[in-house]
């Protein structure tokens, strides 16, 4: 188990380092950092001083190390378009994205898994077929369109729910703000979470259904039936358990997808999160912001993948056995 963790962590570091390199290249070579810092009117002497202060005369490798050091302590530069430290911006916007993503994931899983199980167990019912057709369409629907349709129906025509912003938020501790504690905050969460979660939900539903059908065809289920076990036991204690294993992996990896699509949902609903930030950074060519976002993403994803691998190992005894064997052999 130990070597496995070490391996995965080193992989994570590799990815983060790669992203950091890309970031560094962006920052260093796009435009002129000096120009961006001191403006057009500065004299040559001032420019030279700035060059030395920024360490631009040092060898590239050294600069990269300085960059890494800066990232490690959280100094990510100053945003061109907002004029404030990038790290502060990221920190401010993070809660919004996290809350949105988590709610969307909850929607997707709490609806998707039961629906998937149900359509697998009741293959021939009309509702099953209807759900499958709907899920088929769901895969072809772009997320932004879902959001727009929701806004049209629930905000414009019915006027029930807000179509932009987070509503009133409450600050928790020093850095976190949440919209979960106010009515307007909760209302504002509904449409974006549904939009973000809907696509995932159809995916999860189809995945659970397919997996469950596969599992129900296996020999061990056949043997369980031959032993006369009640169907509830077979469906839930046996089949569901075996179904959930690959599903857990996929759901874990879907967090990454949710995060990516949150950018779109934030654009549609003007949700003040990281996604909106990155779009603005592209539109305004805000290099420090974009570069920092790259590193953050790489780190986040690598972390998610690591977590999923570890959870998988915890659930499936066969994976644990493989790991102990490889450890004994290596």
């Amino acid at each position: 188990m130990g070597t496995f963790i070490v391996q995965r962590i080193s992989q994570t570091l590799f990815v983060v380092l790669g992203a950091a390199l890309a970031s560094f290249a962006l920052l260093r070579y796009v435009g002129d950092p000096v120009n961006n810092m001191v403006g057009q009117a500065a004299s040559l002497a001032e420019r030279d001083a700035m060059r030395r202060a920024l360490g631009l005369d040092d060898p590239v490798i050294l600069q990269f190390f300085h960059f890494l050091r800066d990232v490690a302590v959280g100094d990510l530069g100053i945003s061109y378009s907002f004029g404030v430290p990038v790290v502060r911006l990221l920190w401010e916007r993070l809660p919004a994205t996290v809350e949105l993503s988590v709610c969307a994931m909850l929607v997707a899983t709490l609806l998707g898994v039961p629906l998937g199980v149900w359509t697998a167990l009741h293959r021939r019912s009309v509702l099953s077929h209807v759900l499958l057709v709907v899920s088929l369409i769901g895969v072809a629907l772009p997320t932004f369109l879902i959001g727009i349709v929701f806004i049209l129906i629930f905000s414009v025509w019915l006027g029930w729910l807000p179509s932009f912003g987070r509503g009133a938020t409450v600050a928790i501790g020093q850095s976190w703000t949440t919209g979960l504690l106010t009515v307007s905050g909760l209302k504002a969460l509904v449409l974006p979470s549904l939009t973000l979660g809907l696509f995932q939900m159809t995916l999860i539903m189809r995945l659970v259904r397919a997996e469950m059908l596969e599992v129900l065809r296996t020999d061990y289920i056949k043997f369980a039936r031959a032993r006369g076990l009640p169907s509830a036991t077979i469906n839930y204690d046996h089949a569901l358990r075996n179904t959930l294993i690959p599903v857990v992996t996929v759901v874990g990896l879907q967090f990454g997808n949710i995060f990516a699509f949150s950018i779109i949902v934030e654009a549609v609903f003007q949700w003040p999160g990281l996604g909106l930030l990155v779009i603005q950074s592209i539109q305004f060519a805000d290099v420090p912001l974009l570069a920092s976002y790259l590193v953050l993403i790489a780190f986040g994803f690598a972390l998610i993948n690591l977590a999923v691998d570890l959870i998988y190992a915890a659930i499936d005894p066969r994976v644990r056995a493989d790991m102990t064997i490889s450890r004994a052999v290596s």
Partner: protein, 313 residues
């Protein structure tokens, strides 16, 4: 000690008895999807002829007719079946031309992704070695990130690097490249897997031993076996590519304003939702959904049908 008998070969079925064709012709879903796809592609290709008004001609935009609802008739008697956009352009025409752009970008990215993926897959699978390890490592890493994010970041970073002036000119090539870069992996992996299998077979070993050049071996033996599965990947990929382009254009980092696609049309209409002018966003969106649905259904059916089936007995 068991009971066995001698095998006897059976005559091969004729092509009109072919299972695939049989299933296709008897499945209403597949037929509808195929017809729909063909119709859509025909409309897009013949946009200049089919569309009632030429969207690319600035003269067709009548500001006075701006934001008219579907079915209206304009000031000088123009019929706008699906309404008009904020500049007074006919929505139906805009959608048809937008459809063409969407299809073109989608198809181009799929082709590019396939080209890159197949080439890399063939080389890595056949020659193995360091290149194989590096490319597959990168592929694995890339797979852990969502494609849309990769496309967005590549597109975004390129825009940041390129100066403002050349943005519009390079927008579409960059877009195609970005989308292709996010989807090549599936092709490469599929092809590489197949190449590894074929490579181990005796006839390939024989060809290598007799000194046939690798290029010939790949072209004559390996490549024909690879095309089927690649085609399957491409059908899945097509709707994803179209959706990715639509999303990027909706976010404002896709096609330039001079050449709108279905996604950017939705973007334009987004501002007017609250004024109640829903048609500017919804119609292009609906067209997008129909397109993706048709491609998806066709692809789904194709994949199911190409799966090895249980034979009777």
């Amino acid at each position: 000690m068991s009971a066995q008998s001698v095998t006897k070969p059976e005559p091969a079925p004729r092509w009109w008895q072919d299972d695939l064709l049989h299933d296709f012709l008897r499945s209403p879903v597949a037929l509808t999807a195929a017809l729909l796809t063909v119709a859509i592609v025909a409309i897009a290709v013949g946009a200049d002829v089919v569309a009632p008004y030429d969207s690319n001609d600035p003269a067709s935009a009548n500001l006075i007719d701006a934001r008219l609802p579907p079915g209206s008739i304009g000031l000088i008697g123009n019929r706008y079946l699906l309404g008009t956009d904020p500049l007074g352009r006919d929505m139906l025409s805009a959608i048809i031309f937008g459809l063409r752009t969407s299809l073109m970008v989608g198809a181009a990215s799929v082709l590019l992704a396939a080209a890159i993926g197949i080439t890399l897959g063939l080389i890595c699978g056949y020659f193995r070695g360091l290149l194989d390890t590096i490319v597959m490592r990168i592929a694995d890493l890339q797979l852990s990130f969502p494609a849309i994010l990769i496309a967005l970041l590549i597109d975004g970073v390129t825009r940041t690097v390129v100066d403002r002036g050349t943005h519009d000119r390079l927008a579409i090539p960059v877009l195609i490249a970005a989308i292709a870069a996010s989807y090549w992996v599936q092709y490469a992996r599929t092809v590489r897997g197949l190449v590894l299998v074929e490579r181990g077979k005796e006839y390939v070993l024989a060809a290598r031993v007799t000194g046939v050049s690798p290029l010939r071996i790949i072209a004559t033996h390996i490549q024909p076996n690879v095309m089927g599965p690649v085609f399957v990947v491409a059908t899945i990929n097509m709707s994803l590519a179209i959706l990715t382009e639509a999303t990027l254009s909706f976010l404002g980092v896709g096609v330039p304003p001079t050449k709108p696609s279905l996604g950017s049309l939705v973007r334009i209409g987004n501002e007017f939702l609250f004024s109640g002018d829903w048609w500017i966003s919804i119609f292009p969106g609906a067209m997008l959904v129909v397109l993706c649905l048709a491609v998806n259904l066709l692809g789904d059916w194709l994949r199911d049908a190409l799966n090895p089936k249980l034979s009777d007995g």
